[in-house]
């Protein structure tokens, strides 16, 4: 994957984050086009300032929500149901997560979107009484099969949580933790390299490079969350799951996280849970709308926000409930 600068083609008069969004979208599409000619996704339109304005794209039959032809999804969830004891939290949900794209899960609280996200790296295993049925594949492999090692799975499918949860260790140790347990670096210099690279990718390096020995909990909330992202990146995952990563942060820190998501999109398949619709519109290319444990609608973000098929989606997006 390349991150080199591509010519910015969209207007630059729209202030941040839209600029970044627009630029990203353009750059990204160019990159994809260069890499994979079968990929004919049109430029994702920029999300403007509120109210949500997503430029209506021309519908393209070959790029459906079910994925582009000729390109297998990174992860595929097939009729997933989740039960907490007797209670069913998720009903028969099927979805795909693609590389190089951000998929947003939206919906009112308690709709099961976080529960669903946790299925992708089997974090629901840690909740006693939780039971998952259905099939989830990573590169075509069943993640719940006996061959799939949960340790491997979680290394390949990283996760960032709602509340920043740095370990009560130094900044360096926080990032080095993952590579250490997986033995990704034999020499100290390698480890330092990984830490530096991860912090740079998370956009935190300049802020913390002089105080790597300080405790991770001493950082501000936004920095902590970027530290957690750096920590997830350090094991070089293929997919990153983000569970409302900015909900506990102030607007400026949120903007930084969103910008970061854009930069990361080129490298990782990203799935993000958010209750903030503007955020979904700004950062994602695919959106899934959940309600009461059901997947109501899944499609291109632009379609969902401008032209939803379902009335419930329409109601939610226009703020009639949620």
């Amino acid at each position: 994957m390349t991150q080199e600068k591509q010519p910015i083609t969209t207007n630059s008069a729209v202030p941040f984050p839209s600029t970044a969004v627009a630029a990203e979208a353009a750059r990204d599409d160019a990159g994809i086009a260069k890499e994979d000619t079968a990929w004919t996704d049109r430029p994702e339109p920029a999300a403007g300032l509120a109210p949500i304005t997503v430029a209506a794209p021309t519908p393209e039959p070959q790029d459906t929500a079910e994925g582009a032809p000729g390109r297998a999804p990174k992860m595929r969830a097939d009729s997933i149901s989740v039960f907490y004891g007797e209670k069913q939290a998720l009903k028969d949900v099927s979805i795909q997560i693609h590389e190089d794209r951000v998929t947003a899960f939206i919906g009112p609280s308690g709709c099961g979107k976080s529960t669903f996200l946790r299925c992708f790296n089997r974090m629901n295993d840690t909740i006693s009484g939780a039971r998952v049925t259905g099939r989830i594949e990573l590169d075509g492999e069943d993640i719940n099969s006996a061959q799939m090692d949960v340790v491997h799975l979680r290394a390949r499918v990283g996760m960032v949580f709602q509340k920043p949860n740095p370990f009560p260790k130094s900044i360096f140790e926080n990032v080095a933790y993952g590579p250490r347990i997986h033995g990704l670096a034999d020499k100290k210099a390698d480890l330092e390299g990984i830490v530096e690279k991860s912090l740079k990718r998370a956009g935190l390096w300049d802020e913390v490079k002089d105080r790597l020995a300080e405790s991770g909990t001493a950082l501000s909330g936004g920095q902590q969350q970027r530290l957690c992202i750096a920590r997830a990146i350090a094991v070089d995952p293929e997919v990153i799951l983000m569970d409302e990563p900015a909900s506990a942060l102030d607007p400026i820190a949120t903007a930084k996280i969103e910008e970061l998501i854009h930069e990361l999109r080129g490298r990782y398949a990203i799935a993000i849970v958010t209750h903030n619709m503007q955020q979904a519109a700004r950062v994602s290319q695919r959106t899934a709308f959940f309600h009461l444990g059901e997947l109501i609608e899944y499609g291109r973000t632009s379609d969902i926000f401008t032209n939803p098929r379902e009335e419930r989606t329409q109601d939610y997006i226009t703020g009639r409930y949620g």
Partner: protein
């Protein structure tokens, strides 16, 4: 990238590393199981030893008799009655004082140096070695106040000072767990602060307080050292008639018999331990039952 990652995770070296990590995981879990197993095995071993040694000593004479120099005639009734009277004094003093302190500290006290001092005192008293309370009892109750030696009254007073902090701490936790909305509701209909506490908060906190009290009483029932200090180790052949009569208590009786050289007393000691353990288990069982039965999540 994905193919590179795949080969990295499925490479031989990584496979070996992961199997090593899983082996460590299993070892660690086994170690934990071993630790619990060892502790529980010790408990089982202790109980079995006591039962094997003492069951033969349990008889009607044993349960109805008092201390005697002849192991065949010795019994635990005297000591049991002493324990009963002592605990009665303890509970009569420690329960009201403990509950009232807890109410004051949790509901009324403003945070200042005095209440901090009270809090530190209580937390510390709960962890002071019991023998220190024995020294206090000896110095104050016997030498200054001239209360009768070896009497359940003094034993109960001493143990009350020892258990009171336990009840205060349990009481505060129970009171704390009553949600503020209940207080607001009662205050809203015009109840005074005192009425709120005694009509609403205390009844709701009572199961928690009782659980703490029973555990405290069980501890007091099994306590030996402080009672040795106030002279409850005398040879007493007649059950006490009142709280000022010289008496001994069950744990002290066990201690005294354990010192006897005569073979017959080994069986008697174990039998007395069985009796004591039955009472302890009964009290702890009631406490656990109360906790499970009435524990409320708000």
């Amino acid at each position: 990238m994905s193919s590179a990652a795949l080969s990295r995770w499925s490479g031989n070296e990584m496979q070996r590393r992961v199997s090593k990590r899983y082996a460590a995981e299993r070892r660690f879990k086994l170690l934990g199981l071993l630790a619990v197993g060892l502790s529980v095995a010790f408990l089982a071993f202790l109980l079995v030893t006591m039962l094997a040694r003492g069951l033969g000593g349990l008889s009607a004479t044993f349960l109805s008799g008092s201390d005697s120099t002849d192991p065949a005639l010795a019994g635990v009734w005297g000591a049991l009655k002493g324990s009963f009277l002592t605990i009665l004094v303890t509970i009569a003093l420690a329960f009201p004082i403990g509950v009232l302190s807890a109410v004051y500290l949790e509901e009324f006290a403003r945070r200042n140096r005095w209440t901090d001092l009270i809090e530190v005192s209580i937390n510390n008293l709960a962890a002071v070695p019991s023998i220190i309370f024995g020294l206090l009892g000896l110095a104050v109750f016997l030498n200054v106040l001239h209360l009768p030696r070896s009497a359940p009254l003094v034993g109960g007073l001493t143990l009350a000072l020892m258990t009171m902090p336990v009840i205060v701490i349990a009481g505060r936790n129970a009171i704390k767990s009553v949600p503020p909305s209940i207080r607001d509701a009662a205050l809203g209909v015009g109840a005074s602060k005192m009425q709120v506490v005694f009509h609403h908060v205390l009844p709701l906190a009572l199961p928690g307080i009782l659980t703490g009290t029973i555990i405290g009483m069980a501890r007091a029932l099994g306590e030996t050292a402080p009672l040795l200090m106030i002279g409850m180790r005398a040879f007493i052949a007649a059950p006490p008639q009142g709280i000022t009569d010289p008496a001994t208590v069950l744990p002290v009786q066990i201690f005294l018999w354990s010192d006897e050289v005569s073979r017959g007393f080994v069986e008697k000691t174990s039998a007395a331990i069985i009796v004591l353990l039955v009472f302890m288990l009964l009290m702890n069982g009631i406490a656990i039952y109360l906790r499970n039965r009435f524990e409320r999540r708000w």
